[in-house]
Amino acid sequence: MSNAMAVEPVKYLLVYVLTLLLAVSEVFPLSVSAMLGALLMAWFGLNDGLFTYEEIFSFIDLRLIALLIGVMITVETVGRSGLFRVLGLYAVKLAGGSPAWLFVALSVISAATSLFLSDAAAVLILSATALAISRELGYDPTPFVVASALMINLGGTGTLIGSVSNMIIGLNAGFDFVEFAAYLLPCELMLWWVTIALLYLYYRERLRASPRLLGEYRVRVENKGEVAKAALILTVMIALYVSSERLGIPAEAVALFTAVLALTSTRYDPVEIFERIDWDTVFFVASFLVLVHGLERTGILQALSQLIYEASRGSLAYATLLTLLVSGVTSMFLANVAVALTFVPPLKALNLPDKRPLWSALVLGTNLGGASIPVTSVVFAMAVGALRHEGLRVDMGELSKVGLLTSLAQLAFSALYLLAYFKLPF
């Protein structure tokens, strides 16, 4: 830290901005953009004596990487069993043929699936289910698929392992699984119904088809043994996370244990599982950590921290709302993982006695802003891509409007929740 401001910070800031622009422009995949940024940061930093070669590797938080990989292996193995496909199809069956109930059932099962699976895996399963069922019944598939994608983005907001940004924020805030859920899960569950009501109101005209029966609709479960094992692994995982604080086991250790349990108790080829891990995100996080810690050494992020403090006039309520708003809006246009990583050092440096509302605001902002526009959100893009793949015409402007309206409503509700939950005085 002694080198802070001793170097010219502008070029480091330029490297950071350039990396974000490269990531947004999709010239390179996210990981490659961040690797390029990290390389430039390392080059300038070493030449300016901002940090040493050994320190660069200490910037990469191995606990976070272990948590990420452990969770990814577990969800990939569990997802492969078909458990969530079967649950989704049963939920649809329960809804009968009514388009309104089908809409609600698919929305709820989408958010619930995303509590356990990665957003990408969940959107593949639920888009395929929504498209197959709505086409079978002759309903317009777009409301079902869009609602499913937006609910998948929302699902997992309230759990430590629900999204990559949650893992980053949770570990840095020092929240264990139970503490994280205590602050954020009630908000997520309320947001499920706010979002479903909002989307139903928006699409009500397109959901006015006459109810049709699903006919000879029977869910076939080919590999019941694997489905049962997957359910058991999930139960063990949740039990371990819930009791991890009492047992003194860190979250990343639970993640790695569950990953080994999943790999040894199922018959899937580990090489195939490893191939399907989202390495793009893992490399992006590792490289972006170098970028952010390098930037931190220049003093820029401390200046940002001071800016937040001054803008909020030392008020925890204002600082919380500012964090929610800025992280939410920036996550609409930039990768929310990058937003989470960038916000962590300034929030850590902020001179406020209780930072729980700030961390909670960052979780809500980065998650809820993450699926507003199809071109910037992977989850939304995958759902729209599935619609286009099925030969359906999509109106990008209209979809962006739905996404933005939903995100803004969710952020507004979250602001009220944070003020009420933490009893923040102005």
């Binding site: 496909r85 399963i125 395929a128 498209l131 197959a132 869910v219 992977v378 995958m382 286009r388 990008m396």
Partner: protein
């Protein structure tokens, strides 16, 4: 057009997994499903874009379904005739 291209590019990464999942959902619903890989026929040079967009062409997909139906009906007749 630009936005659609970006979305298609993002989806491309997951296209094979989506097709696989779509097939599994159809199977779970009791409807067998196949995915085919078709090479561009010779003599159609210059029509690469049109060829690649066939899976999103409603008319083509309808003709293909009719072809599959006719073929399966013929197979069915042959099967019952040989009994």
């Amino acid at each position: 057009m630009g936005a659609e291209r970006i979305v298609d590019k993002k989806f491309k990464r997951f296209e094979e997994r989506y097709k696989e999942e779509r097939g599994l959902v159809e199977e779970s619903l009791g409807r067998p499903h196949i995915s085919l890989s078709v090479e561009m026929p010779e003599g159609c040079e210059g029509l690469e874009e049109e060829f690649k967009s066939l899976s999103q062409d409603k008319e083509f997909m309808s003709e293909l379904r009719d072809l599959v139906k006719k073929h399966l009906e013929r197979k069915g007749r042959e099967k019952s005739g040989s009994r």
